[in-house]
Amino acid sequence: MTGRVLNNRYELIERIGSGGMADVYKAKCRVLKRWVAVKILKDEFVNDEEFLERFEREAYAAGSLNHPNIVSIYDVGREGNIHYIVMEYIDGITLKDYIRQNGALPWQEAAEIAISVLSALHKAHRHSIIHRDIKPQNILMTSDNVPKVTDFGIARAASTSTITRKIDTVGSVHYSSPEQARGGYTDEKSDIYSVGVTLFEMLTGRVPFDADNPVSVALKHIEEEPLAPSRFAPEIPEAMDGIVLRAMKKSKTERYDSALQMIAELDHLKKGEIIERNGYEPDPYATRVMGSLEEEVLAGKNVRKKKANRKEKKEKKSSKKGFLIASIYILLIGLIVGGIWLAYDKIVRDVVGAILAPKKQPVEVINYVGMSIEEAIADLEEKNLPYVEPVYEYHDTVPKGIVIDQKPTAGISIMPGKDAITKVELTVSNGVEQVVIPTDIKFADYVEVEIHLRDELKLKPREIAEYSDEVAEGRVIRTEPEMGSTVAVGSEVIIYRSLGPELKDVIVPDLTGSTMDEAKHKLLSQNLTVGKIFPEGREGYKGWIIDQEPKAGTPVKELTAINLYFGDEQSPAGGDGIGASIDPAGSTRVTRYIHLPPNRNFGNIVELVVYYTTGDTGEEILLRQGAVEKSRFPYEVLVPVTPGEKTTLIVYMDGEFQYEEEVFIQQ
């Protein structure tokens, strides 16, 4: 997927994550020239239209949420079978990894992160959007430690898919509320429960309920009381225990009524306003301050890098640091004083020199712009004018070696002599900027090369597609000018993109009567491929081919897929597949194995012909005919047998009768 451009706009640069439902790519938005994250739905979801509609609807709804603690959704789109969401690119890590890296967080920091997450939820809940999958994996920490909640509503969309079938891992239920574990009605308070679990994990570095299988974890959410976080980290205030345990109440009515109410308590705790209270009845004070708090919450809260546990260390170091800072100051003062003295000395000498050498008169600086640098230097030397080393700059129009700027401007007079204070500064064109077309881009992915040439080398790539037997499709064959040449920035470079080998016309071979393996072999030798196999879905690989599409003799391009129709092997009902008429009515296909007679020598390929006869008619019906590799014996065949009727299998090999076998099923 990397290197692909979605809807001509989002260039997928690298995969940065993968979840149960989607892969996430870092991508470049060509229109707005910014990094974005593109979440691409996995294959197994793309056939379920009802789910897709729901997924897009949820994504759009979440896209309406604009909040500093919510990962913004920019776009929802699809290209062919690729369904994707374009989101704000966050340069950071998940809260899960943040906890993994830092261990349990200081309770003050945990409280701040929880407040940020809750303020995001408050905003969403006001828009009737429930997250339903709050967990540290869905909370991103930016490089400035701003928590941002992602994947609003998407979990819910995913759960409606009837197509998905997952072999479960424990992770999916660690943060589920009891009502979610039961599959019951979920609402805002389910999110609050999950925030409680997340806060527990931030405080203690562990989830409250763990087991080696998801069912046990779910049961614990339903039945077990969590331990207080302070059992794992004694410095956690009792009031914090109370907040976590209230958010995690089994009964929704006992939890916080709203995200805002929980924020209020965390806020008071942080400010030292919550002391001990009996029970967890709503705090009247919280309601009183809600107006101003609400504004604050809706504006978003950022957690600044604040590490209480590191503060102590910092303080211990501070005395040493003091000495260091003082030394730096002394050194700086020394340098400045020294510099002033040197400059003073120079000025004095210049002035004295000028006085002592009255012959030296100021000389007018002429116009050097447009002159070659050699001429300019020659003129300066001749006039004994001081100058500094010329500066070279790329220039789109002025040829290399021509002066493009000067200081002082023409007409100003300066003192001659190499030591004079005012020196002539010249800027010289270095000509047009040149770059070398890399030599290692043959066979490279076309899109990557195009991006590199355009963005890094500032060239104008142009694409020409052509066939190549040597270079795989989508890769670079050559460039014009050729690889390794030096070219001016901004110039056009033609990149030849391979269409793969040119496809010749071939004639479709006759595949009827062949097995899957033989058909594959025949198709491969003609450079054709196997297309759809009918009857769809099952058992098509068994038995022999009764029809094909396109038909034998049709001229087609190489690599054309040929659809194969197998006799309907196993549908007992007569089935709806092609070839159903072959089997006698009421018969069932049964598996038999054809054995090589032990007392005969066969070559590597055995010409096998198998007939069967049924009950009354005794008519020999061809069941199987073709060349079979010796190694494939005992060779499986499926015989249509009518229960209660005698069926005989007649086996010929290399044109000779070998043996008969009776197959019988009781009625």
Binding site: K166, R182, E536, A573
Partner: protein
């Protein structure tokens, strides 16, 4: 003994990820029955179930031809299933770029008047005897286990968001744990092996009454599939019915 089998991809899905097989002995009598419901992303859902049925069929066929003395039926099935597990697990490692596939498996092997059932996942085996139906196998699924603990009832399980999650699968991990059940074969017993495409849509009472109303197993299975499809048909449906 009469038997019939059916497999239908349902009306929503694009492919049938269920596979089944009935294995006959040298005399043409059915000896083993297998249903498997595969899963795995990236359109690889049918690989595991197909490989499981093929591999186990081959092992059982070999056993039926040789009848290795000394091995119990459970040992035979364990060996066959472990081999299939290894084959699928290795296939995923070699070909699927880190993603795993797996399959449910419910297989029954007849021997000396006993039916031995090996079971992994949430396909099911039902015993119909004396006008009653009994689900013999335990569902290895998230909701199935919660039903067993009395947290959910059958109806809640059918609409639970996690109803599709199974907790055990063949080929998903390096080793697999197999549940075994065994029963004495009695005259007029009916055995039903099926995938969850059937049982998510039809209750066991419905299955029982359909089995009682009609004699022809083929017709019964066709009716069951038709009813499951009528109720959504959002999953593949596979069933084998055996009447002693």
């Amino acid at each position: 003994m009469k038997y019939a089998a059916i497999s239908d991809k349902g009306i929503i899905r694009e492919q049938n990820e269920d596979f089944w097989n009935i294995i006959l002995d040298m005399n043409g009598n059915p000896q083993a029955f297998i249903v498997a419901d595969g899963m795995g992303g990236h359109q690889a859902g049918d690989i595991a179930s197909k490989m499981a049925v093929e591999s186990i069929s081959k092992s059982i066929s070999c056993y039926l031809e040789k009848k290795n003395a000394g091995n119990t039926i459970e040992q035979v099935l364990t060996e066959a299933i472990n081999k299939a597990n290894e084959v699928i697990f290795q296939y995923a490692l070699d070909n699927l770029n880190g993603s795993s596939i797996g399959t449910t498996l419910t297989a029954g092997l007849l021997c000396n008047g006993k039916l031995t059932i090996a079971h992994i996942g949430d396909s099911r085996f039902y015993l119909i005897r004396n006008e009653t139906i009994e689900k013999l196998t335990r569902d290895h699924s998230f909701v199935g286990e919660l039903v067993e603990k009395g947290i959910l009832d059958q109806e809640e399980a059918k609409v639970h968001p996690l109803r599709n999650q199974i907790t055990r699968a063949l080929g998903y991990e390096k080793e697999v744990q197999i549940d075994f059940y065994s029963l004495d074969v009695m005259p007029d017993d009916i055995y039903l092996f099926c995938t969850d495409g059937l049982t998510m849509k039809l209750s066991s009472d419905e299955l029982l009454s359909m089995l009682r109303e009609e004699k022809d197993l083929n017709i019964i299975l066709r009716n069951m599939v038709a009813l499951a499809n009528e109720r959504g048909g959002d999953d593949n449906i596979t069933a084998i019915a055996v009447k002693i």
